[in-house]
């Protein structure tokens, strides 16, 4: 017999990643104030929000390294508080904001660290590890850099290496914190293509960013985070509106549809609450 959920026509799917009414922060200071979201297998979700709205904290909570004060963060239906960190790191990979390299590790060595959650404290890489590592290097197009030191790479190359390390974890969820920070146009574009490909291979992606255009182009589901709560959620078209941008970013912006990509395009025109801000840059005829 088929199981119940399937026979009803629409299979019930356990969300890969789910948080319900999560409150958490640092040193008694709340940062997230009641956050709920779900990430289905193969989803590509984006969270936008101004600086200090709690985006990086959200990543930490979703990755299970910051315990919620209230509410639950669950991976595949299981409370993360009951799962060990290494178990979580086999399922959830995070590309965090960059930490400056302190030692001259090579690209291959750093990507190989993605295998760490699969092993113990002292481990010399097996043939499987090596294959996974080489595949990760290929997919992120950094194979030719394998023996270079990470402190001698450009920002774009380093970001690809960090994604390669995440792929070496063989995760089912990839979380990214401001992935396009400090990247030039070329590197941004190649990163977007890479994320697009990774998602097509079935890895669920959630990224937080203040780059609204990037999120609008890549993500099919967008949430706006402001002062630790979600202001709005839905498709880019539903969420990226003049009203929401004003509320979250304190910015007056024109939103229209980009004729090439048919996703919302924003043109900020002035800061709210700053009397002389409006139209300062507009061309005077």
């Amino acid at each position: 017999m088929r199981c119940d959920a399937v026979s009803k026509g629409r299979p019930m799917r356990t969300p890969l990643l789910e948080c319900r009414h999560v409150r958490c922060g640092y040193d008694g200071r709340p940062v997230l104030k009641g956050i709920s979201l779900t990430l289905e297998p193969g989803a590509f979700a984006g969270v936008i929000g101004p600086n200090g709205s709690g985006k990086s904290t959200l990543i930490k909570a979703l990755a299970g390294i910051l315990q919620p004060w209230e509410g639950v963060v669950a991976f595949h239906g299981r409370d993360m508080a009951e799962l060990s960190r290494s178990v979580l790191a086999r399922e959830i990979a995070v590309v965090s904001q960059e930490e400056p390299p302190a030692f001259g590790f090579t690209v291959a060595e750093e990507v190989m660290q993605g295998r760490a959650p699969h092993h113990g404290g002292l481990h010399f890489e097996s043939r499987t590890d090596r294959t996974v590592m080489e595949k990760a290097l290929e997919r992120t197009e950094v194979s030719h850099l394998a023996d270079r030191r990470t402190d001698a790479l450009s920002g774009g190359e380093r970001q690809r290496v960090r994604i390669a390390r995440s792929l070496a974890q063989q995760p089912r969820v990839l979380l990214l914190d401001e992935p396009t920070n400090h990247l030039d146009l070329y590197a941004q574009l190649s990163l977007m293509e890479l994320l697009h490909d990774i998602r097509r291979e079935g890895i669920a992606i959630l990224m937080v960013s203040h780059d609204i255009d990037l999120v609008a182009r890549l993500c099919e589901h967008v949430k706006i985070l402001s002062h630790g709560v979600f202001l709005a959620a839905g498709t880019p078209q539903e969420v990226i509106t003049e009203e929401n941008l004003a509320r979250a970013f304190q910015v007056q912006a024109l939103v229209d549809v980009n004729p090439l990509t048919s996703v919302p395009r924003i043109t900020p025109t002035g800061r709210l609450g700053a009397a002389d801000s409006r139209g300062k840059f507009e061309q005077q005829p």
């Binding site: 290494s86 790191a89 965090s96 390299p101 590790f105 291959a108 760490a116 890489e125």
Partner: protein, 332 residues
């Protein structure tokens, strides 16, 4: 094609083990009391001359060489650990105030109990080191979640400076007749070696090194970055506490038996990293063996170079280590 980390570890370790054995043999045969090696080998311990030579080697040079090797291995390994955990290639085992605390303990014991009480000096030095590390931990805990690494380094420097000031106070208040003993201790003194102390310290250093090595991959994670280490499944706070505690215990052990030998814990790890890369699976055995060989060689030189005066080994480590270190830095 690159060597895998395993083969690299094996090659580097066997090479350095060979160097260590060579240095050990040479330092047994070289000394102020010259005797013909050839004659010793030919006549064995049978003759009067031979017996004398064997006695000098086994009861004077061997324990001293072993103590130098133990101290060098311990300091260099602890240096690797501190550099990795604090993500600072210029960290050394004394960075969290152990030298200051250990010196204070040793000086108090020398000044109050006299230099004859070897065990007393070692014990007081160890207690002093513990006190310093405890203070640093306390300060780091009080400022939790605010730049742990910066706090540890700053607290270590300040605790060390304070302990140093106390030590100078004790020196200036005590009579001057122990000043040479104290001075030697501060520069690193291997002349008071005996088998029991050496074996005890050696065991502690080997155990400490082994538990660190069994976590070498975790040290690599910390060295790349604390955020990414956490996202790769490491309990960062627990790992840092583990590594710093073990490295501090190793340093405290070495300081208690050999005084504060400088430079080994900074130069050897750094040199090994420049030669063999930052992977701690290779680096830890390399620093252990390289540190042992380096300090044994330095002590050998210290014994003979200014005969009949024996120099403190710390003078030699600084005089040879610093220029070599500079050369490596410039060459890169």
């Amino acid at each position: 094609m690159n060597l895998s980390a395993l083969w690299k570890t094996i090659f580097v370790s066997s090479g350095l083990l060979f160097v260590l054995i060579a240095v050990g043999l040479i330092s047994l045969l070289v000394g102020a009391t010259g005797f013909g090696v050839k004659r010793l080998l030919l006549e064995g311990a049978g003759s009067e001359e031979g017996r004398k030579a064997m006695t000098i080697m086994l009861s004077y040079r061997l324990p001293r060489m072993l103590l130098a090797a133990v101290a060098g291995a311990g300091l260099a390994s602890a240096g690797v650990v501190f550099q990795g955990v604090l993500r600072n290639p210029l960290a050394d085992p004394y960075i969290i105030g152990i030298a200051g605390g250990g010196s204070l303990g040793a000086v108090i014991s020398i000044a109050l109990l006299g230099p004859g009480r070897l065990l007393g000096t070692s014990l007081c030095a160890f207690l002093g080191s513990l006190l310093a590390v405890g203070l640093v931990y306390g300060l780091a805990a009080a400022r939790r979640s605010r730049g742990y690494i910066d706090t540890v380094i700053l607290a270590g420097v300040i605790v060390g400076a304070f302990m140093n000031a106390l030590m100078l106070l004790v020196i200036s208040l005590s009579g001057s007749h122990e000043i040479q003993r104290i001075l030697f201790w501060l520069m690193g003194d291997l002349s008071l070696s005996d088998y029991n102390k050496t074996v005890f310290a050696g065991l502690l250093v080997v155990v400490g090194w082994s538990v660190v090595y069994l976590n070498a991959n975790r040290l690599n994670l910390l060295a790349v970055g604390e955020d990414s280490a956490a996202y790769l499944g490491l309990n960062v706070a627990r790992a840092r506490f583990f590594f710093i505690t073990v490295a501090a215990a190793m340093t405290g052990t070495v300081v208690s038996v050999s005084g504060t030998v400088g430079f080994v814990g900074l130069v050897v790890p750094h040199t090994m990293r420049l030669l063999f890369g930052p992977d701690n699976r290779v680096l830890l055995p390399a620093a252990f063996l390289g540190g042992a060989a380096f300090l044994a060689a330095c002590d050998c030189v210290a014994r003979v170079v200014a005969y009949p005066v024996e120099l403190p080994v710390g003078v030699i480590t600084a005089l040879t280590g610093a220029p070599f270190f500079l050369y490596l830095l410039v060459r890169r």
